[in-house]
């Protein structure tokens, strides 16, 4: 009855051989393709470095003006705009300006990539049930798998640095925008779509004239969530060599510096709140036509 007490697993030798085999194969793969991949991502790296340098080299008053301007354009709210400016001033006073610029750089690039890749995937998904069935489980895995698990192959392939960090952030932050684009398009009122068809609209005219505009509030909620999730990856990304607010947090953990950790943590929270309020109020304004229902 021994086999009942303990689960009949593969024996240790077999298991370790199997794992070694997989590791070996992947190492082979990364030796063969690692450089090619690095070359492929090189332009991206250049762009990220350039963008980070740009943010850091720009005089702080100009950054403050840009922050205020963007907040105002997005939210049209004095409260949000003033809040954003005050938060940035505080960040500067407490000596976190440079790290904040690095974090802003990677978050912006990650968000742009997620939008550029995620929205088209979401659109394709909405147009085909089969594709939806295929992609949904992939998104589930991307969102639930602990990020350290995919950090391993990413680091094996690309080493330590900005690009692998960016990839890790994107893998984690992409799902909401894909999901919400898909959902938003599928939720478009069938009667409205039928009307467009009845007037002879082509599939393209329906997509850009009806489906995407009506899905915009949802798509925007996706962008908002993507930004939030990217921000929450800042500390993890700093473990594989991404500059920014995550680095001091890591240092604080290993050296038990309470104040350093809390300050940088609060800076991340401040960024999150600013992004969230600005993009949410912008999303609400997109739905202006839904107001005033009788």
């Amino acid at each position: 009855m021994e086999w009942l007490a303990e689960f009949p697993s593969l024996d240790r030798r077999e298991l370790s051989n199997m794992k070694k085999g997989i590791d070996g194969a992947f190492r082979e793969f990364s030796r063969a393709y690692g450089e090619g991949l690095e070359a492929f991502f090189y332009p991206l790296l250049k762009f990220m470095v350039w963008f980070e340098k740009l943010l850091q080299a720009t005089p702080w008053p100009i950054i403050l003006v840009v922050v205020a301007g963007l907040s105002w354009l997005g939210s049209r709210s004095v409260k949000v705009t003033v809040g954003a400016v005050i938060a940035f001033i505080a960040i500067g006073i407490f000596g976190m300006w440079e790290d904040t610029m690095s974090t802003l750089a990677i978050i912006s690039v990650a968000t742009i990539i997620c939008i550029a890749v995620g929205i088209p995937i979401g659109i394709l998904m909405a147009r085909s049930d089969r594709l939806q069935g295929l992609i949904t489980p992939v998104l589930d895995v991307m969102q639930t798998i602990p990020s350290f698990v995919y950090l391993i192959p990413v680091v094996m392939l690309l080493g330590i640095g900005k690009v692998p960090g960016l990839l890790a952030v994107c893998i984690y932050a992409m799902p909401p925008i894909v999901r919400l684009t898909n959902l938003g398009i599928r939720l478009v009122d069938r009667d409205v779509l039928e009307a467009a068809t009845a007037f002879g609209a082509s599939p393209k005219q329906k997509l850009w004239g009806v489906q995407v505009p009506l899905a915009l509030p949802n798509i925007f909620a996706g962008v908002n969530q993507t930004i939030m999730m990217a921000l929450s990856m800042v500390v993890v990304a700093s473990m594989i060599g991404v500059q920014g607010l995550g680095v001091p947090v890591l240092r604080a953990i290993s050296n038990q510096y309470l104040a350093l950790g809390v300050m940088n943590g609060l800076a991340i929270v401040a960024l999150a709140i600013i992004f969230d309020r600005v993009s949410q109020t912008f999303g609400k304004r997109l739905q202006a036509h839904r107001k005033g229902h009788h």
Binding site: V192, F199, L214, H289
Partner: protein
């Protein structure tokens, strides 16, 4: 047959079965299996059952039936929003089912336009841009589209609301937008699926008047779906009655009221105001008349009864618009006609 009399839309032997393998159950349908049996035995819904209907040009054809009788399914076959299981649809002598994607889009852009029960307006566009939608799809340039849209907005009485969004309008106003959008494309065929059913009775009567007024000058081929007999009788020059996906009677309003083809239709017409619907033309005895008093043949029973009552001998001659005698009528026939035929 001259071109004038050729039907604008011809539907012949049209069947529509919803389900997994519609073609597979067509044999059963053709050999006369009923809708209920088909559903029980095969899980397929027989929505349209051997429909043949010629729809004349420049008139209002009403298609009436209770909920689930297949009205929406039928009207959506005309612009092929739904593909038939069997049968043919012809518009102006062209086979709609043989059209490819591009031809079909052109049909929908230029020849047909549609008004929907739930309005189907684009919520993110203003009234002006909604009305211009069909024109935009046709490729009409912006300035011209705006001009034409403004014209139709005015015609349906919505001037001043151009920059409102549909969500800011009442149901009746939204449907005016729907009507203006359909009229703006200049399509010859107007498909209206229970266009006024979602509206309050008063607004509904208003909309019927607007439609009738416009039709007097536009002379479109209008296919109007309704489940409401009063509406059917008010609007329909020709009426087809649908039950369980089959046409069970076609004819003028008079035909339907005076000679209901079966109990189903008799039930329908029992509660209507016969005095308003029935005219002298349908109760007169055609031929020579001895009576000297005259009554126009288009007079309704309601109006004619007091006239007949006042005339000595209680009899009169029905005359057409030009005053030519058409037949004879008397009071007792008129009173009989007020009673529901049992």
């Amino acid at each position: 047959m001259s071109n004038e009399d050729a039907p604008k839309v011809r539907i012949s032997n049209l069947y529509k079965v919803f389900g997994k393998t519609p073609a597979g159950v067509m044999d059963k349908v053709r050999t006369g299996m009923s809708k209920t049996d088909l559903l029980e035995q095969t899980g397929h819904v027989l929505a349209l059952n051997d429909i043949s209907l010629d729809i004349p040009a420049r008139r209002i054809q009403v298609i009436m039936g209770l909920s689930g009788s297949g009205k929406s399914t039928l009207i959506r076959h005309i612009n092929r929003l739904i593909e038939p299981t069997a049968g043919e649809i012809w518009i102006d002598g062209e086979n709609v089912l043989e059209m490819n994607e591009a031809q079909l889009r052109d049909l929908r852009r230029f020849k047909t336009s549609m008004v929907f029960q739930k309005f189907g307006l684009l919520p993110h566009r203003t009234v002006a841009l909604n009305v211009a939608y069909g024109l935009e799809i046709q490729g009409v340039d912006e300035a011209e589209a705006e001009k034409r849209a403004a014209h139709w907005i005015d015609r349906v009485g919505l001037s001043g609301f151009e920059q409102h969004y549909p969500g800011q309008l009442s149901g009746g106003m939204q449907q005016r937008v729907g009507l203006a959008r359909a009229l703006a494309t200049d399509a010859e065929i107007l498909l209206m699926d229970e266009a006024f059913s979602a509206l309050d009775p008063l607004i509904r009567t208003d909309m019927q008047s607007i439609l009738l007024d416009l039709q007097e000058e536009l002379h479109k081929t209008i296919i109007f779906i309704t489940h409401d007999l009063d509406e059917a009788l008010r609007l329909g020059e020709n009426i087809a009655i649908l039950r369980d996906g089959a046409v069970i009677q076609t004819g003028t309003a008079q035909d339907i009221v005076m000679k209901p083809a079966d109990d189903y239709i008799r039930d329908f017409v029992r509660d209507i105001n016969r005095g308003r619907v029935i005219t002298m033309r349908s109760i007169m005895t055609p031929g020579a008349s001895a009576a000297s008093a005259t009554i126009p043949a288009a007079t309704s029973l309601e109006e004619a009864l007091p006239l007949l009552n006042a005339i000595d001998g209680h009899a009169a001659t029905a005359v057409d618009k030009a005053g030519n005698p058409l037949g004879s009528i008397d009071l007792s026939t008129a009173i009989d006609a007020m009673r529901v035929a049992e």
